[in-house]
């Protein structure tokens, strides 16, 4: 009151100070508790910053595009059962304008997923947040540039490559000694608040069977849109890695009102070749055949979704050379055939996967 405050003002100021001090004390207690927890868990998983970086030169119908990208992934394990994980995508695509001039273009930024996973038991993992929509296998598992055998996206990828904001249950467990069963089921809420966080209101899921003996995997996916349109989408996937030869086969089929199509992709590693073994075991031959059929939307709508505007066929093959684990040089040639015109696709570039611990890794 000596500083000119009335009694109620003084009481209010005192309360604010106490709350502030209380808040600081609570934060300090929480911090100390968290520190204690971390101190007890030095043998536990360590947070990791991983991801991919790449530089590619795409020549599509004679038009050159320089593409530089970095896709960081943060993995933050908590205790025995939690994992918080996130992936962002920063991609710069630069082209010369029609008629010539210097290269220019946009740098796109995307949040692919930011999710918390709780491993409830050996059958169920609960995921909340923004996650990759579990439809087919390419979007969730084969998308990273260090994993995919050919850098061009499959034609039907826009039918399945989405992120969802909501909740998901998923898991994998042995059905018997010869087969593992895996599943994912999710609900997603509509999100239009931000360009990088968009999602549809829909439900869906995927089921699959993996046979570890012959290394065969197959399954199906389904999705139902719950907005003005109530359309269904479905798809099938198949993968096979023969045990006797270093071949990796993947395939997907997808169908929705926007279109349908399939791709079949094979990658053969020359590790069994009897000559120049030191170099040849790092070399991989990859090829893909694919087809897209128009759906019930206009060509303009299809192109806005990233789909071809007309029925399209494409064949592509290429070579990958693994300089070391996670670092490869890529080169490929493809040709696209459609009513809109036929053209060549050339790709050269380098893809790199990094992984850095965000803490002590010694036990």
């Amino acid at each position: 009151m000596s500083c000119g405050l009335s009694a109620p003002e003084f009481r209010a100021a005192t309360r604010r100070t106490l709350i502030l001090r209380g808040g600081k004390t609570l934060f300090l207690l929480a911090f100390l508790f968290a520190t204690q927890v971390l101190a007890q868990t030095t043998d536990r998983p360590v947070p990791i910053l991983t991801g991919t970086a790449g530089y590619f030169n795409f020549v599509t119908a004679g038009q050159n595009q320089l593409d530089a990208q970095i896709n960081p992934v943060v993995l933050l394990p908590l205790g025995d059962r939690w994992l918080v994980e996130s992936r962002a995508e920063f991609e710069g695509a630069f082209q010369r304008p029609p008629g010539g001039g210097s290269y220019g273009g946009m740098v796109s930024k995307n949040l692919d997923y930011a999710q918390a996973d709780y491993i409830a038991d050996r059958f169920v993992t609960v995921t909340v947040g923004r996650f990759l929509t579990p439809f087919g296998i390419f979007n969730e598992r084969l998308y990273p540039i260090w994993i995919r055998s050919l850098q061009q996206d499959p034609l039907i990828l826009p039918l399945s490559a989405q992120s969802s904001d909501g909740m998901m249950l998923r898991g994998g467990f042995p059905a018997n000694s010869r087969a593992n069963f895996n599943y994912a089921a999710y609900v997603s809420a509509i999100s239009t608040a931000h360009n990088n966080l968009q999602s549809n209101r829909d439900v869906g899921g995927r089921m699959g069977v993996f046979l570890p003996g012959p290394r065969i995997e197959f399954g199906g996916s389904w999705q139902k849109l719950l907005q003005n349109q109530r359309t269904n989408s479905f798809g099938f996937h198949f993968a096979w890695q023969p045990t006797r030869i270093p071949l990796n086969l993947h395939s997907e089929y997808a169908r929705s009102n926007a279109g349908s199509g399939y791709w079949v992709d094979g990658a053969y590693r020359f590790s069994q070749v009897v000559f120049w073994q030191k170099a040849m075991r790092h070399l991989e031959f990859a090829a893909r055949a694919e087809q897209f059929f128009n759906g019930q939307i206009s060509p303009d709508e299809a192109e806005a979704l990233g789909l071809p505007g007309a029925n399209t066929r494409e064949g592509e093959f290429g070579l990958n050379y693994y300089l070391r684990d996670g670092l490869k040089l890529v080169g490929s040639y493809g040709r696209q055939f459609s009513y809109a015109g036929n053209f060549n696709l050339w790709t050269t570039g380098i893809a790199y996967r990094f992984a850095l611990p965000l803490g002590r890794v010694e036990q």
């Binding site: 007890q40 360590v46 990791i48 491993i119 993992t125 994998g172 995997e217 890695q241 803490g359 002590r360």
Partner: protein, 98 residues
Amino acid sequence: MKSKVLGAIWLLALMSVIGVAATPPRTNTSTEPVVRNSAEAETMRLEGEKRFRANCGRCHAAPQKFPPRMMATILRHMRVRATITDEDMRLVLFYMTQ
């Protein structure tokens, strides 16, 4: 008063989450498999290699070995991403950290 209540709820929620994450499970859910002798360790290593080739090869070429604490994180990520089974995860982790 409202701020205090909200603060208390927030703190309780935070400590619950940390507590749940830090509480040792009743059953053996640790990622470290229990090994009794060297023969069993060798059997698990061989089985782990088999599972490693079958599971990891579903998507990508065999990766290098990372330090054990990194491998534990990577395997937890792959368990969720690739829906590999709990048993496969433990055996692959054992193989990759030997």
